[in-house]
C-alpha cells in the first residue's frame, strides 16, 4: 500500500508535465494575440512597431521551443511567470481568486455529504416508500435544474424574502472577506452559492448512495448478518454502509475536483470573483501564462483528490490495503 502511494506521488510529476505541455501548445493554437487585445482595447489601430515592442516585452518574440523551456524551467522553481494581461505575477492573481472558489467547493461538498449519504441510505432501506419517493424526486430535480437557473431563483427568493421579513432587500456581499477575518460576512457571501452548487452535488451523491446501498443489501454477507440475528441498525451501519461507500467516494471526489475549475456559471450568477471567472477572462484575453497557471492548479487539485480517494478506498477496503 505504501509503495503504491509513493508510486502514485511520483507519477504526479510526469502528469503535471504532460498537462503543462498540453495547455502550453493548445493555448497557442487559438488564433489571436494578447498584444492585439491589450493595444487594441479601445478600438485603436495597432502599429507593427508597437506590436513588436509588446511582443519583445512579454517574451513572445522568442522561438516557441525556447518559450516552452523557459516555462518548464520556471515551473521547477514554482514560478508561474507574470500575467501577460495584468502584469502581476500569476501566483498573485490566482491567490486572490482561489480561496473563495475553494471555500464554496468545500462547503458544497460537506453539505452534500451530510445530506446525501443519510438520505440515499434511508431511501435504499425503505425502497419504494414515501420517503424513497420524496428523496428520489428531490434528487431528480437537482440533476434536472440548470445551476444558473437555480442560482437566479435562489437570489430572487432571498431578495423577496428579506424584503418581506425586514422591509429591506438583502443581497449577499460581493467582495470576498476571508473566513477567519469576518466569519459571518464570509459565510453570508459563500452560503447561497454553496447551497446552489451543493444541491446539485448532493443529488448526484444521493442517487449513487441509494443505488450502491441497494446493491450491497442484496449481497450474501448481508444475508449472513441477518442470519446471525443482528439488529437492523448494526446490519446497516457496520455491514452495509462501509461497502456501499466505495463508489460514492469516487463520485464525491470527482465532483469536488470539478467544482474547482468548473464553477464558472455559478460565480457569474452570484457575481463572485472566483477561479472559474478568472480562467474565462484569461482565455478571452489570450493570457497564456495565467491560463497555464490556472489549468495546472486545477490539474493538481484533480491529482490530489484522486490520491485522497485512493487513501479512503484503502481505509474502507482491506483488500486494497493489503494488496
Amino acid at each position: 500500500m505504501y509503495r503504491y502511494l509513493v508510486k502514485r506521488l511520483l507519477l504526479v510529476i510526469p502528469t503535471l508535465f504532460g498537462a503543462a505541455a498540453l495547455v502550453f501548445f493548445l493555448m497557442r493554437l487559438i488564433p489571436g494575440d494578447v498584444c492585439l487585445v491589450r493595444l487594441g482595447a479601445g478600438g485603436a489601430t495597432v502599429t507593427a512597431q508597437a506590436l513588436h515592442t509588446c511582443h519583445v516585452k512579454l517574451g513572445l518574440d522568442k522561438p516557441l521551443w525556447l518559450q516552452f523551456v523557459l516555462f518548464i524551467w520556471g515551473l521547477f522553481h514554482f514560478n508561474l511567470g507574470i500575467s501577460l494581461w495584468s502584469g502581476y505575477p500569476v501566483s498573485y492573481e490566482i491567490a486572490t481568486r482561489f480561496p473563495i472558489t475553494l471555500e464554496i467547493a468545500i462547503f458544497a461538498t460537506v453539505l452534500s455529504i451530510m445530506i446525501a449519504v443519510p438520505a440515499g441510505t434511508i431511501s435504499a432501506i425503505k425502497q419504494n416508500s414515501w420517503t424513497d419517493f420524496f428523496v428520489r424526486t428531490f434528487a431528480i430535480s437537482g440533476i434536472a435544474m440548470p445551476s444558473f437557473w437555480l442560482g437566479i431563483m435562489t437570489l430572487i427568493g432571498v431578495l423577496n424574502l428579506s424584503q418581506y421579513l425586514t422591509g429591506r432587500e438583502w443581497m449577499p456581499p460581493i467582495s470576498y472577506i476571508p473566513l477567519l477575518q469576518h466569519p459571518l460576512e464570509n459565510l453570508s457571501a459563500v452560503f447561497l452559492p454553496a447551497i446552489t452548487v451543493g444541491y446539485q452535488f448532493s443529488a448526484v451523491v444521493m442517487r449513487m448512495t441509494r443505488s450502491a446501498m441497494l446493491e450491497v443489501l442484496r449481497e450474501d454477507y448481508i444475508r449472513t448478518a441477518r442470519a446471525k440475528g443482528l439488529i437492523e441498525r448494526i446490519i446497516i451501519n457496520r455491514h452495509a454502509l462501509k461497502n456501499s461507500m466505495l463508489p460514492v467516494v469516487t463520485v464525491i471526489g470527482i465532483q469536488f475536483a470539478f467544482l474547482i475549475g468548473g464553477l464558472v456559471v455559478t460565480e457569474q450568477v452570484f457575481n463572485i470573483n472566483g477561479l472559474g471567472r478568472l480562467l474565462v477572462e484569461a482565455v478571452q484575453n489570450e493570457d497564456y501564462t495565467l491560463t497555464q497557471g490556472i489549468v495546472l492548479l486545477v490539474v493538481t487539485v484533480f491529482i490530489l483528490t484522486n490520491l485522497i480517494i485512493d487513501i479512503v478506498y484503502a481505509w474502507l477496503d482491506p483488500r486494497i490495503r493489503y494488496a
Binding site: E219, D220, Y221, R223, T224, A225, R226, A227, K228, G229, L230, I231, I234, R238, H239, K242, N243, L316, D317, P318, R319, Y322
Partner: protein, 333 residues
C-alpha cells in the same frame, strides 16, 4: 418427546413479472434433537427458499411466507414477534451458506464477524467475546486462531472461510444448524474435510443438523434421515438406508440413477433426471412430477399424492403407486 423442529405445510411465494412462483409449496419434515437429516433435490426445487423460510429470512418483496407452521422447541416461529425471532437466528439456529467467498463481509475481520454474534446474543463484552472466538476457531480446526481473528476474509481460502462460517454458526451453542449446500463451492478433498468436521462437531456438541444438498453421495455418508424434495415439497422421506436400497418415489429413483455409485456394478451410463424441472408458476392440483414420470397414471393429474407411509417403519412416499411400485423400482434403481 416432541421433535426439535417440525415444519408443517410451509408455503412461500415469490411475486415476479412472470407470475407467482410457488417456491415452497406445502413443505413438511421433522428434525429430532441431535439428529442429522438431509434435504436433497435438484436445483430450483426450493431447498434454499425452504431453509430461509424457516429462519424468516425471505426478502419481502418479492417473497412472502403464505402459510404453515414451524415448531421449534415447542414454539411456532412463524408467530414470533420479530425481536424474538432475532434471538432465534444465530442464537438457537445457526446457518452455513453455500458461497464461502461471498458470505463473509469483505471489510470486517474474521474476529469481528464472530464476536458480533456473541455480543448480540450473549451480551458478552469484547474481551470475553474474543476469548470465545479463539476457542471457536480452534474448535473448527484452524491453526493459530489468535492471528486469524485479525485477518480479513480475502486472506483465507474457501475451505478456511467455510470453517469460519461454521464457527459463527456454532458461536452461541445453537440447538440446530442449517447448512445450505455447505460444500458445493469447494473442491472435492476440502468437501470431505468440511463435512467430516460438521459431523464431528454436531455429534460432540449434540447439535441437530440439516444438510441441504443436491448430491446424494454426500447424504449417504452423513445423514441419518433423508428428505427428497421436488417442486417445493417433500416427495419421499426415510433413513438413508431405505432411500438408497428401497426408493419408492419415481423421482428418487431418477435422482439415484444420476449419481455414480461405488457400491453397485458400474452402470453403462449415468442418467440425468429426464425432462425439465417444472415451471413453478404453473403448478396445478396434480402431482408436479407426473410429466416426467414413466409410471404416471390418470389419477396423478387429479390431485397431488399425500406423503403416505410405506410398509417400512419411518419410510414415507408421496406417490399413488407407492406400494405396487416398490419391487419394480428396486430393480430399476
Amino acid at each position: 418427546m416432541a421433535p426439535l423442529l417440525e415444519v408443517r405445510n410451509l408455503r412461500t411465494d415469490f411475486r415476479t413479472g412472470a407470475g407467482v412462483v410457488r417456491a415452497v409449496d406445502g413443505l413438511s419434515y421433522t428434525v429430532e434433537r441431535g439428529e442429522t437429516i438431509a434435504i436433497v433435490g435438484e436445483s430450483g426445487s426450493g431447498k434454499s427458499v425452504g431453509a430461509l423460510s424457516v429462519m424468516r429470512l425471505i426478502p419481502n418483496p418479492p417473497g412472502r411466507i403464505t402459510g404453515g407452521e414451524v415448531l421449534f422447541a415447542g414454539r411456532d416461529l412463524m408467530k414470533l414477534p420479530e425481536e424474538a425471532m432475532r434471538e432465534v437466528r444465530g442464537g438457537d439456529i445457526g446457518m452455513v451458506f453455500q458461497e464461502p467467498m461471498t458470505s463473509l463481509n469483505p471489510v470486517l475481520t474474521i474476529g469481528r464477524q464472530i464476536t458480533e454474534t456473541i455480543e448480540q446474543h450473549r451480551g458478552a463484552d469484547r474481551v470475553a467475546a474474543d476469548r470465545r472466538a479463539v476457542e471457536l476457531l480452534r474448535l473448527v480446526g484452524m491453526a493459530d486462531p489468535a492471528r486469524r481473528l485479525k485477518q480479513y476474509p480475502h486472506q483465507l481460502s474457501g475451505g478456511m472461510r467455510q470453517r469460519v462460517m461454521i464457527a459463527i454458526a456454532l458461536a452461541c451453542e445453537p440447538k440446530l444448524i442449517i447448512a445450505d449446500e455447505p460444500t458445493t463451492a469447494l473442491d472435492v478433498t476440502i468437501q470431505a474435510q468440511i463435512l467430516a468436521l460438521m459431523q464431528n462437531l454436531t455429534r460432540r456438541l449434540d447439535v441437530a443438523l440439516i444438510i441441504i444438498t443436491h448430491n446424494l453421495g454426500v447424504v449417504a455418508r452423513y445423514a441419518q434421515r433423508v428428505n427428497v424434495m421436488y417442486a417445493g415439497r417433500i416427495v419421499e422421506s426415510g433413513t438413508a438406508e431405505q432411500i438408497y436400497h428401497n426408493p419408492r418415489h419415481p423421482y428418487t429413483v431418477a435422482l439415484l440413477r444420476s449419481v455414480p455409485r461405488l457400491d453397485r456394478p458400474r452402470q453403462a451410463r449415468l442418467d440425468p433426471v429426464e425432462g425439465q424441472p417444472p415451471d413453478l408458476t404453473r403448478l396445478d392440483e396434480g402431482c408436479a412430477f407426473r410429466s416426467r414420470c414413466r409410471f404416471a397414471v390418470a389419477s396423478c393429474a387429479r390431485s397431488a399424492p399425500p406423503l403416505d407411509p410405506t410398509e417400512e417403519k419411518g419410510h414415507l412416499s408421496a406417490c399413488f403407486r407407492n406400494h405396487e411400485l416398490g419391487v419394480a423400482m428396486a430393480s430399476v434403481a
